[in-house]
């Protein structure tokens, strides 16, 4: 099923235009929504997740008009917000049973089986009797995945789920997400390019409430083939380089020199060497092009 967003706009009371005439099509598979902090990712995801109403525009998921028939979407929606809390003094098992009830699983036997399964998937079965409020960050995120699975969702929205997870937890989390996402649409927002590279079948870059670009990660990289150049420079040369070339990123080497990457259709200078394009380059180019031009 396809998620089609058309001309979506949302302006907050304080004047911030969080979503600016945004249109987007998302098909089955993992969709990465990449953007810096404050780009409007969460606003967009909350709007799709029926938590916010836009000022104008439309969202369709298959036949479901999301803005008109919120209930229909909620039946097939799994949502994991950027941060969430839980009722204190309740165990994972009890909370999941509660969510399963909310999601319409009427039979007790069904609920028990379902809860057991999602606990096992997320590797929380051993701690099912413990209060979720006392979980560590990674466990809590896994609990978030567990509750999201309960209605066997067709559309899954996860908002910056890997922020703050240790590498092992992050891996585990992404694997589960990937597993879940094979048969449905998963929208996955992040500001970590790595996440998208590893998982996503499609991606978009969002900033200032607008989609800057949309492509598959491979396409995006391919489009830059032969346009990314790199060079090792001294620290002092950096400002000069930035003035002369379109510098995308610069990383320190161990000897206090810098590795800079430059975007250019042709070889910028003889001492540059061609580099394999990476997703980071795509991201930085997109953001750079969107920067306000100083007059």
């Amino acid at each position: 099923m396809k998620l089609v967003i058309k001309d979506l706009t949302k302006t907050y009371k304080n004047g911030v235009k969080a979503i600016d005439n945004l249109s987007l099509e998302i098909g089955t598979g993992m969709f990465g929504l990449l953007g810096p902090n404050g780009a409007g990712k969460s606003s967009l995801m909350r709007t799709i997740a029926t938590l916010q109403s836009p000022d104008s525009g439309s969202i369709m998921f298959g036949d479901i008009n999301v803005l008109e028939d919120k209930m229909a979407l909620r039946k097939v929606l799994g949502y994991l917000p950027q941060s969430f809390g839980v009722y204190p003094k309740m165990s994972a098992e009890a909370l999941l049973d509660y969510f399963a009830t909310l999601k319409g699983v009427s039979s007790k036997v069904d609920r028990n089986a379902l809860v057991r399964e999602v606990l096992e998937i997320t590797n929380l079965y051993d701690v099912r009797k413990k209060h979720v409020a006392g979980y560590s960050g990674g466990m809590k995120q896994r609990f978030g995945i567990a509750q999201l699975l309960l209605n066997n969702p067709k559309l899954i929205i996860v908002d910056e789920p890997t922020a703050g997870l240790d590498p092992a937890e992050r891996h585990r989390f992404l694997n589960v997400l990937r597993e879940v996402g094979t048969n449905c649409t998963v929208i996955f927002s992040t500001h970590i390019v790595e996440d998208v590279k590893e998982l996503c079948t499609d991606m978009a870059i969002l900033n200032g409430g607008k989609i800057l670009m949309q492509a598959t990660p491979t396409q995006a990289r391919e489009s830059l083939r032969g346009k990314i150049w790199t060079k090792v420079v001294e620290r002092d040369e950096l400002e000069q380089m930035e003035a002369m070339y379109n510098v995308l990123s610069s990383n320190y080497n161990e000897d206090n020199t810098l590795n800079i990457r430059v975007h250019s259709d042709t070889l910028p200078a003889d001492d540059f060497v061609a580099a394999e394009p990476q997703l980071d380059d795509v991201y930085f180019i997109a953001l750079k092009q969107d920067e306000p031009i100083d007059s």
């Binding site: 997740a49 039946k75 941060s83 009830t101 909310l102 039979s107 069904d110």
Partner: protein, 1216 residues
């Protein structure tokens, strides 16, 4: 650093709209209360008229303190939040690593919040100040602005309290990091205040309560509780003794709490938590888990049907309910509420130290102390449930599930109702436990269940609707709670502004009352109709709750309104319309009944009518009218239908020496017919005041007679209105309620300031007893002297009907029982009719038949009452005159009709609440045997009212009530000894001194009293007891006997208090004549106290006791102003070195009891023995006396038995 944080905090508060909302609410409250008390609404409601200055020092003290109590509810959300904010925003994780000291941090946080709170308190002061003086208030009630009154209240009470409660809340929130905890603390503290007030009712506990009351109000009350009106208007509140100690104690506790906060506070990341399970520290290691899991969710079925949602709603409600009952705010309110209930259960219904049996209705009444707990829990938990998702930040997860809104909010609403049911069940459980504890096993489970789970539950549920709505609108549960508390308290106060009809005030309406005899009577129907009406309103609110229910993250209130509009689908519109129509239809029906079908008379209109009545008809006040000499009545009571119809015949004689050409018939609004046996014309008929004038064709010449035949019945009853005084079981009607009378008979406005407003001459009170032209009427009625009486009363077959007189005949006809009564001697024109299913207990005293008609099950005290009848007959007969009847009956009536007994000729209706269910403790420690005492009093009325009846002038009630009370005291003393007297007198003294402070007009000396209860009962009993002590009981009774002999059954002119006092004066020695003056003719109060006492054992084994004591007395004028001399010149003066001001006294030549008491042990119990008691002549204020006694003295006293009226009876005795 302190100032950086401090100013930052202040700026935060100044930017917050909530600060201004709070300030505005308090300003409006203060303004409303102050201006209403100063009479700003006089044009729409009753005129506020009183001799009380509303902004007197004590007036400001009371209002300012009362309003400040509301502020405490804001403490959690101002003082608590100030520190909680940093936790909630997780700012503390950063802040606590900054380089400032915890002193800076804590003090800045605390004092910035205190500044905000005191700012709001300041606004209250401004609101009061403006309110008192706002144009439209009555300037006569308002004294000039007095800064000292405001400052005193502010500095001595409010500021220390703000610091104390602020420190407590700050401490609680700091350590628990939980606002609810701070809130509960406030609720508990307010309960403690309630407890202190309970303690205050017993005068022995007052000093303790004064120390312990955290508000300090009890300490102030300790000194001002006996202040008269004049003193209240003028005096500034003291700052001394217990007040200082109390303030120091609590300020100390506040500092201690703050010190503890300082000591134990650390910039740590985790809250202090309490747990009974100590967890072992365990090293936590993550398991290594890589690997890919195959996801294979079991196939389950999803059910989104309506039915399933209903089931889910129930399931969720259980979950929410568990959350409430497991949360400790609930548990702590419950526990403290229970303690209060148990305390009030043991206090309620106590009379003279004797408790009432723990009958079920009493248990339920005691449970009403729980009302506050249930309401506060409802208000609070509505907020905590509505915002539960938001508070825990789980709302996003919930809001995206396919559960309809209604399932969510109804589940919370149902959880709230379940909580209420649990709390109601607790009232039942505690009531039954209390009954078991007291060995009372007559459990009326049905009664408990019906009242708690049907009657009161509906009312609580209606509050739950409003709570859900308000809490849904508000984004902050504590602001919502505050609004709800203001609404709940403010709703009844709207009457002050002229909103009198219950249909305009949420959840208001007639109540219900239970009596063992009559059940809930007819109160049930009307109660339910009003509750149904409010239930519809609640449902309307529920629909609005649905419309405004927050799902997701609306950006602004504007957006919420848009969402609400979108949610108003056809289905919702229909639902809403049905509820609105139901609400309006019922409302209109009630309004129609009260305002169109019946002319509803607002308090204002009623005031205006009283004015017009006086202006139109007072001119006939002294017109000559015939006197009723015989009454024949036929009264038919229909207990099932709650109807009555009656007919009667008055025989009247012109006893004047002029011809009478017009009859002024003053009747009631029941449908009636009147017919005279002489030709006449109705020349004036007044359907508003029901005052008709008949002109006789032939004037009645002196000695002529005239007969009036009349019929009267009630209008048909309807569900919304009951038009008769008949009850299903226990009807009690007197003749003034249903029968007509002759002539203008008063009922005028009393307050002179209000009278002036309507151009009425000042109220003269009744004439003085010395006015010989005013003695033509008794104070019972103006249209008769003594009458012949005969009555036939009928009732349903299962009931007995009673009227004064002897039963001549009893028969049954057409399924109804008839009783014909006839009196053999003349009686006052004052009689009642009773009907109920009675059991009868019979006995005789000499040749007098004694009967008690009682409700089955109320046998507990029949023997005491019977004994009381005999003892009273014996005492009165022996000391005064023979009993005029051959029969005496006590007749029980429901307590819903009042808690009193009333003496009609040979018939005494006696409320079930004042004796039938007393739990008398006959041991020495027990209280007064009041079933016995009240019976003696009422029987004494057969002499003191029904033989000796005073003229309708000032002081008349001394002849009836004070004397009956005197007889009751004396009989009690002879039967049960002097120790019972002390309990009785002490309570009488406290009641007299307390009640006179509420006097709104004027207090007159006993023999000129204007009928106030506290003078004729309490002061009367004290005075007569003291007189009998001074001149001797026998001497006094002989004087009274001679007096009775002269005046009993006399015709006009009637006797007065002056005549009786003259008889007493005659037997009083010259040296004691001053007692008559002090006690009867003036208002005189003593201030007696023992200053110092020492005792030395003499060589002969005796003891010499040296007592240093002071005696002084002063007189009050009718407003309570003090005078120390009768002629303006002579007064005594005394000043010791340590006294700042001299003490004055009216010149003394008084005989005062000096007593010395020892102690002996009888069966292991220590008992007081009297070693010495003698009256000493006292002529100066300061006195020293040496007395030698045989045994070891333990305690001494000046007027140790509190026989004199003394404003501080606690310092009369001193232990050695």
């Amino acid at each position: 650093m302190f100032f950086t944080i401090f100013t930052h905090e202040l700026r935060y508060w100044l930017k917050k709209p909530a600060t201004y909302i709070y300030a505005a609410i308090f300003f409006v409250l203060a303004f409303f209360m102050a201006s209403a008390s100063a009479g700003i609404f006089d044009s729409v409601t009753v005129t506020t008229g009183s001799s009380r200055i509303v902004n007197s020092p004590i007036g400001i003290f009371n209002l300012y303190n009362a309003l400040t109590i509301f502020i405490f509810f804001l403490f959690p959300s101002i003082i608590g939040i100030s520190i909680y904010r940093d936790y909630k925003s997780e700012m503390h994780t950063i802040l606590y690593s900054y380089p400032f000291s915890k002193a800076n941090y804590l003090f800045a946080k605390f004092f910035s919040a205190i500044v905000v709170v005191t700012g709001i308190v300041f606004v209250i002061g401004i609101g009061m100040f403006i309110g008192f003086r706002f144009p439209g208030t009555n300037s006569e009630l308002v004294a000039p602005f007095d800064l000292q009154s405001y400052l005193y209240t502010y500095l001595v009470y409010i500021l220390p309290n703000v610091l104390l409660f602020g420190a407590i809340v700050f401490a609680v929130v700091t350590f628990t990091r939980n606002i609810a905890a701070g809130f509960i603390t406030i609720v508990l503290l307010i309960f403690i205040q309630g407890l202190m007030e309970g303690l205050l009712s017993d005068s022995d506990n007052r000093a303790l309560a004064a120390m312990l009351d955290p508000y300090g109000a009890s300490a102030a009350d300790y000194y001002v509780r006996y202040w008269t009106v004049a003193e209240q208007n003028e005096w500034h509140l003291p700052f001394k003794g217990l007040i200082i100690y109390n303030r120091l104690l609590w300020l100390g506790i506040a500092s201690l709490i703050f010190g503890l906060v300082y000591k134990f506070f650390s910039f740590s990341q985790n809250a202090v938590s309490f747990s009974f399970r100590k967890d072992k520290g365990e090293r936590s290691v993550k398991r290594n888990f890589g690997g890919i899991t195959k996801i294979n969710l079991p196939k389950v079925s999803f059910d989104y049907s309506f039915l399933q949602n209903l089931k889910t709603m129930w399931k969720l409600s259980n979950m929410e309910f568990l959350y409430i009952v497991k949360s400790w705010p609930f548990i702590s309110i419950l526990i403290v509420g229970l303690i209060i209930v148990l305390i009030s259960l043991s206090e309620i219904g106590n009379l003279f130290g004797t408790p009432t049996l723990p009958v079920t209705w009493k248990m339920l009444n005691g449970g009403s102390a729980f009302v506050i707990a249930i309401n506060i829990c409802t208000f609070l938990y509505a907020g905590l449930l509505v915002h539960r998702g938001n508070i825990t930040r789980m709302e996003d997860l919930i809001d995206v599930t396919p559960i309809p809104n209604w399932t969510l909010f109804l589940s919370k609403f149902i959880a709230l109702l379940k909580m209420q049911l649990v709390m109601l069940a607790i009232i039942m459980a505690s009531g039954m436990l209390f009954q078991i504890y007291n060995g009372y096993y007559n459990f009326e489970i049905g009664h408990y269940v019906y009242e708690l789970f049907v009657l009161s539950f509906i009312s609580y549920a209606i509050w739950a609707f409003l709570s859900m709505f308000v809490q849904t609108l508000m984004r902050n549960p504590y602001l919502g709670l505050f609004v709800l508390i203001v609404l709940a308290i403010g709703m009844p106060l709207l009457s002050l502004a002229g909103v009198e009809q219950a249909i305009f005030k949420y959840n208001q309406g007639p109540g219900y009352a239970y009596s063992d005899m009559n059940g809930y009577g007819d109160s049930f129907g009307l109660y339910m109709i009003y509750k149904l009406y409010w239930l519809f309103c609640g449902l309307v609110l529920l629909v609005f709750t649905a419309l405004f229910w927050v799902r997701g993250l609306p950006d602004s209130f504007k957006e919420r309104i848009q969402i609400a509009k979108r949610r108003l689908t056809l289905k919702m519109t229909i639902l809403l319309s049905v509820f609105v129509i139901g609400f309006l239809a019922l409302g209109f029906r009630i309004y129609y009944q009260n305002n169109i079908l019946n002319t509803r008379i607002s308090s204002k209109e009623s005031e205006l009518r009283t004015v017009e009545w006086e202006k139109t008809y007072k001119k006939y006040e002294n017109a000559a009218q015939p006197r009723i000499v015989a009454v024949k009545a036929n009264v038919n009571i229909f207990p099932k239908q709650l109807n009555f119809d009656a007919s009667g015949e008055y025989v009247m004689i012109n006893k004047t020496d002029v011809a009478i050409d017009s009859i002024f018939l003053n009747h009631n609004s029941y449908p009636s017919t009147f017919e005279f046996d002489k030709p006449n014309t109705l020349v004036s008929e007044d359907t508003i005041y029901n005052f008709d004038i008949y002109e006789l064709k032939q004037p009645m010449l002196p000695g002529d007679s005239l007969t009036l035949s009349f019929t009267v019945k009630n209008k048909p009853n309807s569900l919304l209105e009951k038009n008769s005084p008949v009850r299903h079981n226990g009807t009690f009607i007197n003749n003034f309620q249903i029968f007509p009378n002759l002539g203008y008979n008063g009922g005028e406005l009393q307050d002179n300031k209000i009278r002036e407003k309507y151009d009425l001459p000042p109220n003269e009170l009744k004439p003085m007893p010395t006015d010989s032209t005013a003695l033509g009427n008794t104070y019972i009625g103006k249209d008769s002297d003594w009458v012949d009486f005969e009555a036939t009363v009928s009732t349903s077959e299962d009931q007995i009907a009673i009227a004064p007189g002897y039963l001549q005949k009893e028969w049954t006809e057409n399924g109804r029982r008839y009783f014909h009564y006839k009196m053999d001697s003349k009686i006052l024109n004052f009689y009642g009719f009773n009907s109920a299913e009675y059991e009868v207990k019979k006995d005789t005293w000499k040749d007098v038949n004694l009967e008690i008609y009682y409700h089955k099950g109320h046998e507990y005290n029949l023997d005491r009452m019977m004994a009381g009848m005999k003892a009273s007959l014996e005492y009165n007969t022996k000391n005064f005159s023979p009993y005029q009847h051959k029969q005496l009956r006590i007749i029980e009536f429901p307590r819903t009709g009042g808690s009193f007994a009333q003496s009609f000729p040979n018939t005494i209706p006696f409320s079930e609440g004042v004796g039938f269910i007393a739990d008398v403790d006959e041991t020495e420690e027990g209280g007064v045997d009041y079933p016995f005492a009240i019976t003696v009093h009422e029987v004494a009325h057969q002499w003191w009212a029904h033989q000796v009846i005073g003229a309708d002038v000032l002081g008349a009630t001394m002849l009836s009530e004070s004397l009956s009370e005197y007889v009751s005291l004396k009989v009690l003393e002879h039967q049960q000894g002097k120790s019972q007297m002390r309990k009785f007198l002490k309570e009488a003294l406290d009641d007299y001194l307390t009640q006179r402070t509420f006097e709104s007009k004027r207090e007159k000396p006993l023999m000129y009293n204007d009928g106030q209860g506290y003078i004729r009962y309490q002061k009367g009993s004290l005075v007569f007891y003291a007189i009998s002590d001074y001149i001797g009981e026998e001497k006094l009774n002989n004087a009274l006997k001679a007096y009775v002999e002269k005046v009993k059954f006399q015709e006009a002119p009637y006797t007065t208090s002056v005549e009786m006092v003259d008889y007493i004066k005659e037997v009083t020695p010259d040296s004691l004549q001053y007692v008559i003056k002090d006690m009867f003719e003036t208002i005189t109060l003593y201030e007696n106290r023992v200053a110092d006492v020492t005792s030395t054992e003499l060589e002969n084994g005796k003891y010499q006791v040296d007592i240093h004591f002071q005696v002084s007395k002063y007189r009050n004028d009718e407003k309570g102003k003090r005078f120390f001399s009768d002629n303006g010149k002579d007064s005594l003066q005394y000043q010791s070195e340590t006294m700042k001001k001299p003490e004055y006294s009216v010149p003394l030549a008084d005989y005062i009891d000096i007593g010395i008491f020892g102690e002996e042990e009888v069966n292991g119990v220590k008992k007081e023995t009297e070693l010495y008691l003698k009256k000493q002549k006292i002529t100066q204020i300061d006195n020293h006396i040496s007395i030698i006694v045989d045994e070891k003295p333990v305690e001494v006293g000046v007027d140790p038995y509190n026989k004199l009226i003394d404003t501080n009876s606690n310092d009369n005795r001193k232990k050695l």
